[in-house]
Symmetry: C2
Amino acid sequence: MINIVTGGAGFIANTLIDRLLEQGRRVVAFDNLKLGRLENLSRFYSHPGFQFVQIDVASPLSVCKALEDASNLGPIDEIWHLAANSDIPSGVANPDIDFRDTFLTTFELLKAIKGLPVKRFLFASSSAIYGDQGEIAIHENIGPLFPISNYGAMKLASEAQISAAVESHLSRAICFRFPNVVGVPATHGVILDFVRKLMANPDELHVLGDGTQQKAYLHVSDLVDAMLKIRDLTEDKRAVFNIGPVDEGVTVRWIAERVADRVSPSARILFGEGNKGWVGDVPKFKYSTEKVRSLGWSPVLGSQAAILRAIDEIACQQGA
Amino acid sequence: MINIVTGGAGFIANTLIDRLLEQGRRVVAFDNLKLGRLENLSRFYSHPGFQFVQIDVASPLSVCKALEDASNLGPIDEIWHLAANSDIPSGVANPDIDFRDTFLTTFELLKAIKGLPVKRFLFASSSAIYGDQGEIAIHENIGPLFPISNYGAMKLASEAQISAAVESHLSRAICFRFPNVVGVPATHGVILDFVRKLMANPDELHVLGDGTQQKAYLHVSDLVDAMLKIRDLTEDKRAVFNIGPVDEGVTVRWIAERVADRVSPSARILFGEGNKGWVGDVPKFKYSTEKVRSLGWSPVLGSQAAILRAIDEIACQQGA
């Protein structure tokens, strides 16, 4: 059974591919290597069930050709669509980035698989589609959705396309609404940012915003567990699932202090103003994960434990 | 005060422009004349406050230039974004149509107005964003949204972009979620279709589906009343409003019979199978309009009265 993983050289795909290969599936990873990194894949090269194709999923001719080649290996069972812009602030400054790398990748992929007997389409969506909902507990069944970043907007736009494609040619689709996810190989995010800053200047760490932003974090190992469990237990033609930790999360201040503990304990931590790090950042967030927990999943690591493990992993990755 | 109306040569814009001019606003209408028709605008040409620009809003250079020219007339107060593909079945067969005419028009327009002091962005969204929600009364605050046509998907994708743009550069936006709207100048829709068929063959009328699809219909005069009222009374930065009649709607069978009464009373009406007319059609639909009614709006015409008036208007338009 062939599984396609787009964004295959990126952060979350790395753990996912590992688990899919472990489950005996053949994996063909697509990536344009714009944000993904080839060295992330090196651990899979020796595996006979693994193959990498460097293509841009937003390019219709390339994606059709790559899918045709993959089909020659055997029927394509599942498509895990993880390719997207993951650099949210860059997409706030320039809407073309999320348009191309998040929206168009979905659009061209959905067109290209028309006619292929794909059993399931699995999409990496995001809590960013909800926008700033204040103190409300965010269930999957709330509305209206008011994303405040182009990233969130193009994830929601992708969910919409996928839903329409189920009507016309997809047999089944699941959208996983990711929380903030941490772990390695880290390509972006607050921990990597702090580790890099402290390695460059061990005396001071400048933090965007006043450090009071509080968010829940999930370790990538728990995220991938949830995705596989949801895939196995969901028979609906269309489904959306919030995935996230069950706790209230941690503040940016706490993360900054813990990174300093690990990388440079004597560093002074300096905070900015306001409780938004950048335009499009949601300051506070109450995420309901009741639905995925009703399937019997719960995270092994809470936000604190996930952050602590990820700090250690990322510090090692960066050689700190 | 300059008001831009995109899709200005289309069906709904025709009544909207009339009302805006009546309110003393200057109107600049944009249209690519792909679905819109120049003759729809002829009644405005003598009005000193009206101007038409033939451009494609999906073309970035044209839309920037047209907005710059409009700005030279005075500050742009409001943008009414109605340009879209309105031919839902064509977009089911070819996703490029809704992508280009509905999604990209919004995308390029939002980019082009960055930096202009637009007070309000008003968007013609659709009940199609909800998809088939079965027997649930569809309020604005329900989820998840599962559009079943590319039309609905690209309307939802447009709402998402608009929401993100409010965070970065728009001061205020309202999305009107339209029901099925009837009236003249008719460019598409079930009544025009039946009138044309009966004029071509007065003996028989072939209806897609079994005729049991039941939908609520609003007359365009009531729709535009609601839009103007919502604009005047809503101060939220982001708002979405369902607009629709308060009744349960009418069946396709009833519409077919009434069109036959008007155009060719002796015609035999022949039905197909299934309760969906085409892929992407939502068979039954309970639309909650509580929110707009709480502003003091209610339609003058219910579904039946709206259809009867529209049949007469469209029959006249077609010379029947």
